[in-house]
Symmetry: C2
Subunit: 404 residues, 2 copies
């Protein structure tokens, strides 16, 4: 099993990404298509927000289809809160894509991300879809990864090579997401492609379980978006014996998928709007998995904790406080807390109380761009991890005038 | 019924506020005592955080006592996450106060606010308690209101004069709170005094109901603190017929108490750390009270909404989005949204979709320091209001280095 920090082409898939004029500040790419030459099995998870964008609602139906061969994505406009016209626009995007690629409409998924509540510039989008369909290629994935970005500062891609049943398999993923990121699915766009052969039921299970411990455990700002989704397409080109049960091939596939999901999630948290560092909350000793998860999520969601990290301030009291209102059960008087980065590790609280600690070393540890908060609840054997980023002047700046 | 924007002395009560050296940056006052010459009935509500500071846990017992004649409060140190020693310190504060005032320990409440996880400087506090007890006076309330502040930029006081049963009654309140403010009780310190005669059961009911629609409907940063409480003392000096049922005198008392609670709550939201404006979310047309409350709270808690207000950006999509993940039930396609301030009112969304609106006027409306978001769910007859503030560079700055 080998990991690459880029999007390896997956046999049988093509992609493209272009600028069609949706984003004000061109020439940033704003429209992408992902295409499978063969029939492909799909699975997807969607935002839990009650206010769902038109593309999300349509995809929830289309993903039930036995075959999914294309995903068309635009950035710059979320097509959310756009009413009946928004649905018509999303359908029109799908129909145009389907027509260009000789597919049925229900073989196409659609995703939009960007500003909410503004009608889609359909002229630009339709000519963009035609152009993007025309230039699909085996090495268009880097362009596609660019076309889905909004306030992201970089593309987010990762790939795993492995063998299943003696056959070479690739799982490659791209994601976008920088603001409006919060646990509970939603949160961003993620597209994962594989040539593995796996049936729809197992692909669904693998994706859901994987997302629970990765995309659902990150937060940038506590806001669960209207639009977001993670979708996976498996075209079976590897010709391995189709995975149809939780056998050892499934476990191998799932292990690789977990790495892809986790790496993409961490990239999203790290690239949180205005962020200067990635924060990893590692919870140990939970009485239940749920308790550990609630505590971990609450730490990386707290504005006070996030501001303290920006200030390199070892304010462990805020960490304990954020766990206290998380809804997770634990005994405040048995909690140990440490900070850790490549500069070292320092324990700052034991049994719920502060310890004397080396202020200079701790400041150094907190100055790194990847810092872990290690919390031991000493209350059981369950663990959980969550990822977030610091809260900075730039977050406020970026979000103070995103629309205008 | 007459409202004053200051703390009117309440017959039979004395107070004081001094600087005893807890705060690094003297000479800001950091220790206050409130004292009732007569026996007084008390009620209080406390933080729901699982991590409760020692004073909170002790008060939860002491408030059950039939008589409460003093409250001793320090700022600068929260006495939270301080273990067994923290309890001993809180008990020692209480015992010293009781001794100075010839009271029993269980007739005294104690409150602390400030940094978490640092041992209390007990030498300073004990000599401070003695000094503050010595200078108690009928006009010491302004000093007491200063002694409970932390990052607040001003004292928060309000009073109501009314008559009950033909007798002149005063209800006066002081509060502190600027960060770590979030719905769910907790959130701050509030002390309310009255000379009304009311029994413990009705005082409890009045306070709880009042807090639910005021202190529990504000948010600065979503962080529910370890320490906070709202307490009320009623010494009966007005000699009205003791209120012991929900009769018209109770309703009158409750109405006045509601104004005190609400005014203090709005002052806290307005003085939120780094805030430049008070945001009021007015929800109408909810199917249930709970749906309206959840939506209102979610709007004023969302970092994205709060950043948009800082930027005077009419980003109504974020408002709808934040309602969507609130847990409240509503139909996204029937939501109307307007902005309102003393500059005027403009509707920006109808039936879940954007309307064309006057950008210049809207910017003017959003530039005021008190802005209302008026949301009509058109789904029923329940309403709710919640108050918050914008998220600014200064919030991040203040919380990036509070401890150090």
């Amino acid at each position: 099993m080998k990991k690459y920090d880029k999007f390896l082409a997956v046999p049988g898939f093509k992609a493209s990404g272009i600028y069609c004029g949706i984003k004000k500040n061109g020439p940033n790419k704003d429209l992408s298509i992902i295409y499978s030459e063969k029939k492909a099995v799909s699975a997807a998870v969607f935002t839990t927000n009650k206010v769902k964008a038109a593309p999300v609602i349509i995809n929830m139906e289309h993903v039930k289809n036995d075959n999914t061969q294309a995903i068309v994505i635009n950035s710059g406009n979320a097509n959310a809160c756009t009413g009946k016209k928004g649905f018509e626009d999303a359908e029109y995007m799908i129909e145009t894509t389907a027509k260009e690629l000789n597919l049925s409409s229900n073989e196409v998924l659609v995703a939009s991300t960007g500003i909410i509540g503004v009608p889609m510039p359909m002229d630009k989008i339709i000519s963009g879809v035609k152009e993007a369909a025309e230039i699909l290629s085996y090495d268009g994935f880097e362009d596609a990864a660019k076309g889905i970005l909004t306030t992201d500062t970089s593309t987010k891609t990762v790939s795993i090579e492995l063998t299943i049943d003696g056959r070479p398999v690739v799982i490659s993923g791209m994601a976008k997401g920088s603001g409006m990121i919060h646990p509970n699915m939603a949160t961003m766009l993620g597209f994962i492609l594989t040539n593995a052969s796996i049936d729809k039921k197992m692909l669904n299970k693998a994706l859901r379980d994987s997302v629970d411990n990765s995309f659902n455990m990150i937060s940038v700002d506590g806001d669960t978006s209207t639009n977001d989704m993670v979708a996976i397409l498996a075209n079976g080109a590897a010709n391995n014996k189709t995975i149809d049960s939780q056998d050892k091939n499934y476990m191998k596939f799932k292990e690789a998928l977990d790495i892809v999901s986790l790496e993409l999630s961490k990239m999203i948290a790290q690239d949180g709007e205005g962020a200067t560092k990635l924060i990893e909350a590692c919870l140990f000793g939970g009485k239940t998995k749920e308790d550990a998860k609630l505590c971990a999520k609450s730490i990386i969601t707290s504005n006070l904790v996030k501001s303290a990290f920006f200030g390199k301030d070892a304010n462990w009291g805020r960490i304990l406080c954020s766990m206290g209102y998380s809804g997770g059960d634990f005994n405040p008087e048995s909690v140990d807390i440490s900070f850790e980065s490549k500069r070292g590790k320092v324990q700052i609280a034991k049994d719920g109380m502060g310890l004397p600690f080396d202020e200079v070393l701790t400041k150094e540890i907190l100055s790194e761009d990847y810092v872990k908060v290690v919390v031991d609840l000493k209350d059981g054997e369950y663990e959980a991890k969550a990822w977030g980023c610091d809260l900075t002047y730039d977050y406020v700046k970026i979000n103070g005038d995103y629309r205008t």
